[in-house]
């Protein structure tokens, strides 16, 4: 009986340990070149996810820098890729619903750099091609001209074989 109770306690503790959510990754943004201090930029330009599978989650923080001398509001959005990497195809239509953007409309102070967590959570039972790609587009929505700029981070996802 004691052994049974001991086994149940151990099993319970182990299961609770397995269920602990992993903390968001703390990523040190590499030091940008000095000439980018007064430019708006994002980093990284590309995130590669390997061994992904239905039910899995992958996440990575996207750094956004406001190079202006005044605050600026940004939009951070999911985007179908205009082109894809070799061997990759456009993400399935449902993938937009799998992507979580922690802060889709951040307002950054002048020269501020902020990390916005991007996560992709593929539901169990969902289907995807072996290699697929989506973009996270970042745009300074305080731009006023007719011709505006946008920066995008490529997410390249390779499914578990």
């Amino acid at each position: 009986m004691k052994k049974l109770i001991g086994f149940l306690v151990v099993a319970g503790l182990l299961l609770s340990a397995c269920a602990q959510p992993s903390a968001p990754p703390v990523v040190q943004t590499p030091e940008p070149p000095p000439e980018l201090y007064d430019k708006t930029w994002i980093s990284p330009g590309k995130v590669e996810v390997g061994n992904f599978y239905p039910g899995a989650r992958a996440e990575y923080p996207l750094s956004i820098h406001n190079g202006k001398d005044e605050p600026a509001k940004f939009s951070v959005t999911y985007r179908e890729p205009g082109s894809t990497g070799e061997g990759y195809v456009t993400a399935p239509g449902a993938a937009e619903g799998w992507v979580i953007i922690a802060e889709p409309a951040p307002v950054l102070a002048a020269k501020e750099t902020r990390q916005v967590l991007i996560a992709v959570e593929m539901p169990k039972g969902a289907k995807a091609p072996p290699k697929w790609e989506f973009w996270i587009a970042v745009k300074d929505v305080t731009q006023t001209g007719m011709v505006q700029t946008e920066l995008a981070c490529r997410w390249l996802v390779e499914m578990r074989k």
Binding site: L14, Y60, E80
Partner: protein
């Protein structure tokens, strides 16, 4: 009793080990890697009136973002001086550039026909982008409202590119008498 206590202590020790390390070697581990690149571009000028200056556009007319003339087509090989815009790749990596031209809002609200500058309809305009050194018109790239193909592939880091835009206005009459607006967006992505 000691065995039970031992098992509980063992379990507590396992709980304290970070799960990520405990399971790092299993086949279920998702690998996430990122290259430390910085993506950044700028464009000058950021304004454009297709008809030039403060002139109003006419219907069924092709306009060019060409400093030589608003209705002057580029040469068979597009010259730098035939492109109104300069995009600078201030990234530390090679980038691809795409340019989208959404439908206009307000006034007569022309919609993008999505088949390029040579086409229009009573209510739609067509648009294409062109870059210096490319063939005209074969090298022009259709500007769609969204999901256009790349205007430029593999623009080297810290490099300028001159580009222009051709637009054919709608063939129907403008009746509203009020201005319509659209915003062209040039998107940069890491092309490595």
């Amino acid at each position: 009793m000691r065995k039970v206590l031992g098992l509980v202590l063992l379990a507590l020790a396992l709980v304290l080990i970070p799960v990520g390390s405990a399971f790092a070697a299993t086949s279920d581990t998702v690998a996430v890697t990122a290259t430390p690149t910085f993506i950044s571009i700028s464009i000058l000028p950021d304004t454009w009136n297709p008809a030039g200056g403060t002139a109003k556009i006419n219907k069924n007319t092709t306009y060019y973002a060409n400093p030589i003339g608003a209705t002057t087509a580029p040469s068979p090989t597009v010259a730098v001086g035939e492109c109104s815009f300069t995009v600078t790749n201030t990234s530390n990596v090679i980038t691809d550039l795409t340019a989208n031209f959404p439908s206009f809002a307000g006034g007569d609200a022309m919609t993008n026909i999505d088949t390029g500058y040579a086409n229009n309809s009573a209510t739609s305009f067509g648009a294409s982008s062109y870059i210096s050194g490319a063939a005209w018109p074969a090298g022009a790239v259709i500007m769609k409202a969204a999901d256009s193909a790349a205007m430029k592939v593999d623009l080297a880091a810290t490099t300028d590119l001159k580009f222009g835009i051709a637009i054919k206005t709608m063939s129907g009459d403008f009746t509203s008498g009020t201005a319509m607006t659209s915003t062209i967006t040039v998107t940069a992505v890491d092309s490595t």
